[in-house]
Amino acid sequence: MKRPTGLRVVVLAYLGVIVALPVGYLIYRAFSKGFSSFMSQVTQPGAVHALVLSLEVAAIAVPLNTIVGVGAALLFARHRFWGHRVLDLCFDIPVAVSPVIIGVALVLAYSKIGWWGSWLATQGISVLFSVTGIVLATTAVSLPYVLRSTLPVLLESGTDQEEAARTLGSGPLRTFWYITLPVIRWGVLYGVVLTLARTLGEFGAVVVVSGNISGLTQTLPIYIYDSWDQNYNAQASFDNALILAAIAVVALVVLGILRSKERNHRGDLA
């Protein structure tokens, strides 16, 4: 077999400049003052609150977008209806435009200057400067990942297995749970990990709607930026950035391990 040495060097150099060097240096700087310094930075009340808030937001946004994404994938893969292309395109808008625009649009639509803002306020729901707003913004910007990772798997797997289950007497719910879901699960899980990464890391849309109130509406990325930009505490931003990065990377690695285990077990590609 021919070894594509040149190509390999280019890819490695590219990844090195863009990913490995900056992240490596971040890790080095995070621990450069010792482990106890690292621990004290990541256990500051503001940092802990921001981390918990980020996780809470993810705990709402990820399941929501998983259900919507799988539902939409089923809809697009199994039904051809008028306007399905337009609807399909709409899912990509939140990641195609700048997150700041999503944030501004949400504020416009749901704050008191918007059409429904006053009515929402009378119902006791405020979007601006609130956790509700953060959840809304985060859900919006992480909308299409599950759909995009599930739809191709669903299209490729075809309808044969589902039809076979129907001829054997299986109803729609059972067919989905026992036949469709096992077929698409790796696609769905990959989408879930991407959604999680995006929800934890979202900055632009969240910073617009949250108002950046320290200890209240500060998510971890905003806390990191704040430490860096406002409080001149670079060490706090390095250390917490590492925590944030680690969560997403660990999720990706766990997914990879689970998948390769199953593949070895069954001797094929799921």
């Binding site: 076979a164 001829t167 109803g171 096992p182």
Partner: protein, 317 residues
């Protein structure tokens, strides 16, 4: 269970895929629907199963109108062209799926799955996954899965289409034998005329969405109702302006009675020999000879011969 189709019609857009089909399928028979690709034969099978809905017409199984019955209530065993195995389940789980849906006890399922795997000779593969089986084994697993629910009717969509020639032939005779032991009404769809002739009790020939002829395969072969059926069931050649089977022609010496002709090509296939001729009226035809006949004649290209229709055609009408 007998199946009755009455004026069954199905279109996709403006294309009529199944066009006003009326026929009956005998209880306990092994019926083959034969037709070229695009003839509507698979769609007809899916309409019987309830995987597609009819535009008009009715389908009745065992005297019961099932036209509007959902596929899951029809109790039909369906084998898909590419077997549609549940890839994340073992062979035993695949076969037992329909029984689990029917909420049978674990012990009953295990016993029945064991029996079925015995019948399809897959007992030793019960804990394998479909990806670890050969094509023929997957086919037999799909058959066992369909039979597990004790279907009223078994429907097979191109069951041997994706298999090697050798495995196809083996499975064909296995299916015949199997149907003798478990005589559930079976309809099989194929585009392979040899397969159809070998397997069928009853043959339905389709083209362009419509039935061309139905009946006993030997009868249809001997007296096809139109030129399409004749051409599709076996080779034909033109002799004196009439289409005939090339094995119904006979070659004899130049002085024998018949039409004078010159040998233009000889192809030896081992089990048979094809001889191309140019007749005195400057038309070409070809004759199919057994290897032994060809040896007796010891023909070579350029020989002058006579050709005539055999006195005793190979098959009587």
């Amino acid at each position: 269970m007998a199946i009755l189709l009455n004026r069954v019609t199905k279109s996709y857009g403006s294309r009529r895929v199944v066009d006003d089909v009326t026929t009956s399928i005998d209880d306990g028979s092994l019926t083959v629907i034969l037709g070229p690709s695009g003839s509507g034969k698979s769609t007809l099978l899916r309409l019987i199963a309830g995987l597609e809905t009819l535009d008009s017409g009715t389908v009745a199984i065992d005297g019961q109108d099932v036209t509007f019955q959902d596929v899951r209530d029809r109790n039909i065993g369906f084998c898909f062209q590419h077997y549609a195995p549940f890839r994340h389940m073992t062979v035993a789980k695949n076969v037992g799926f329909g029984l689990k849906v029917r909420k049978q006890s674990r012990a009953d399922i295990d016993r029945r799955v064991g029996e079925l795997l015995e019948i399809v000779r897959l007992s030793d593969k019960a804990n394998r996954y479909p990806s670890q089986l050969s094509g023929g084994e997957r086919q037999r697993m799909a058959l066992a899965r369909a039979l597990a629910i004790e279907p009223r009717v078994l429907l097979l969509d191109e069951p041997f289409g994706a298999l090697d020639a050798q495995v196809r032939i083996e499975l064909r005779s296995w299916l015949r034998d199997f149907h003798h032991r478990i005589p559930v009404t079976t309809i099989m769809v194929t585009h392979d005329q040899q397969e159809a002739m070998e397997v069928a009790d009853q043959l339905i020939i389709m083209a362009e969405g419509a039935i061309q002829q139905t009946g006993d395969p030997r009868h249809i072969y001997a007296s096809p109702s139109n030129e399409f059926v004749q051409g599709f069931l076996g080779p034909i050649t033109n002799f004196g302006g009439v289409p005939v089977r090339p094995h119904d022609l006979e070659i004899r010496g130049a002085n024998a009675p018949g039409e004078h002709a010159v040998v233009t090509a000889i192809q030896n296939f081992g089990f048979e020999v094809r001889v191309d001729l140019c007749t005195e009226h400057d038309t070409s035809c070809w004759v199919q000879l057994s290897t032994r006949e060809a040896e007796t004649l010891s023909l070579s290209v350029g020989d002058a011969v006579t050709v005539s229709v055999r006195h005793e055609p190979a098959l009587m009408i």
